[in-house]
Symmetry: C2
Subunit: 197 residues, 2 copies
DNA sequence: GTCTATACGCTGATAGAC
DNA sequence: GTCTATCAGCGTATAGAC
């Protein structure tokens, strides 16, 4: 019975995720994925009978599920109420993973995908990525630790900012991505500090 | 004599830029570009005899030249020494243009392009986009208006931040991109404010 | 400058053996 | 689960007329 969880299928998803995320949907050939797995292109159809599009969508869902769990875990491990530590924990998780550029992915690649599917992915990525981040800022604001006009905007910027770090080549900046994330978060924190009227 | 500046060629570049920037190199078919111009696919080879890759590279160079000029113009028009106004002017320019995601473009699409060409584009985008922004921050820092540890990092973040705004769908956030840019810049400015030890 | 016609390689996909 | 064999369709590119 295909289409269920299995060792081999999992491997396909992981390898495919790597490739799709770094090159985008249309630039990745099924042969590339098969080669990376040392199997033949046609063998992929055992796991994903509907072909490339199904594989891609499953990759995205797989990735989003992992991110939802990873971000929750990062938050659980960070001191409750410490929004700065929480942001850093989430950033650290995001940097440990292949890039998940919600927007870039969704807008570059998904024109080629069925619109209903796109909508579903939109909602899943919203729940997995955006909502938890937004929660951090909202809580910090509610407790008066920060002042911000538009939590949605800042949450989106945060995600984008961290994601951009994935693309910074080592030659551009000598620091590690984690160091850069930390500096940017510190900068953000300064900007959000409450201040006397 | 092809390969030179001409009305038709310019049109091709503009239409192709739009498509390449929103879908990425491999997802755009020469037929898509031709259709948008109401000409036939093969006709593109009159202007770009080397084919798709040449067209793409010329699109990028064309775009970078326009950005270099546009950013300079934006800076010239902003009050000298007013780094905030300068950032806003640059942001406004960038938002008026099709996206130029230096990094996303360079890393998604350019695997399929000759490496030497990639290097050249790297340098051109560095000079056209990064250097002017960096200049703003460096000058502001030199004159003591801001305090920042890593100007390169902040300049890169600024570019990425503005570019991300291109992908924010209207349903996500009711504000205009310019409003969002203004808010983000204000936030950044707060974070960079010098403060007493 | 743009067209028609066409060649050709590549890619996604199917069928069926092991 | 993975393989070989095969194919239809698409996308790039070329040749040459207008």
């Amino acid at each position: 019975m295909p289409n269920t969880t299995s060792e081999a299928r999992e491997q396909v998803l992981n390898v495919a995720e790597q490739l799709f995320m770094e090159r985008g949907y249309s630039a990745v050939r099924l042969k590339d994925i098969a080669d990376a797995l040392n199997i033949k292109q046609a063998s992929l159809y055992y796991h994903f009978p509907q072909g490339k599009e199904e594989l891609y969508v499953e990759v995205l869902r797989h990735s989003l599920r992992r991110h939802a769990a990873g971000i929750q875990a990062a938050l659980a491990q960070a001191p409750a109420g410490d929004w700065l530590a929480q942001l850093e924990a989430v950033a650290s998780w995001l940097l440990s993973q292949p890039p998940v550029d919600k927007m870039s992915t969704v807008q570059h690649d998904l024109p080629e995908i069925h619109p209903e599917t796109v909508h579903m992915l939109d909602e899943e990525s919203f729940a997995a990525l955006f909502v938890p981040i937004l929660g951090i800022f909202a809580a910090a604001q509610a407790s008066g630790q920060i002042e911000l006009e538009d939590p949605d905007l800042v949450a989106g910027m945060f995600l984008g900012m961290i994601n951009n770090l994935h693309m910074v080549k080592a030659e551009w900046n000598p620091r590690s991505k984690h160091q850069m994330a930390e500096m940017l978060i510190r900068l953000l924190a300064r900007g959000l500090e409450p201040r006397p009227a």
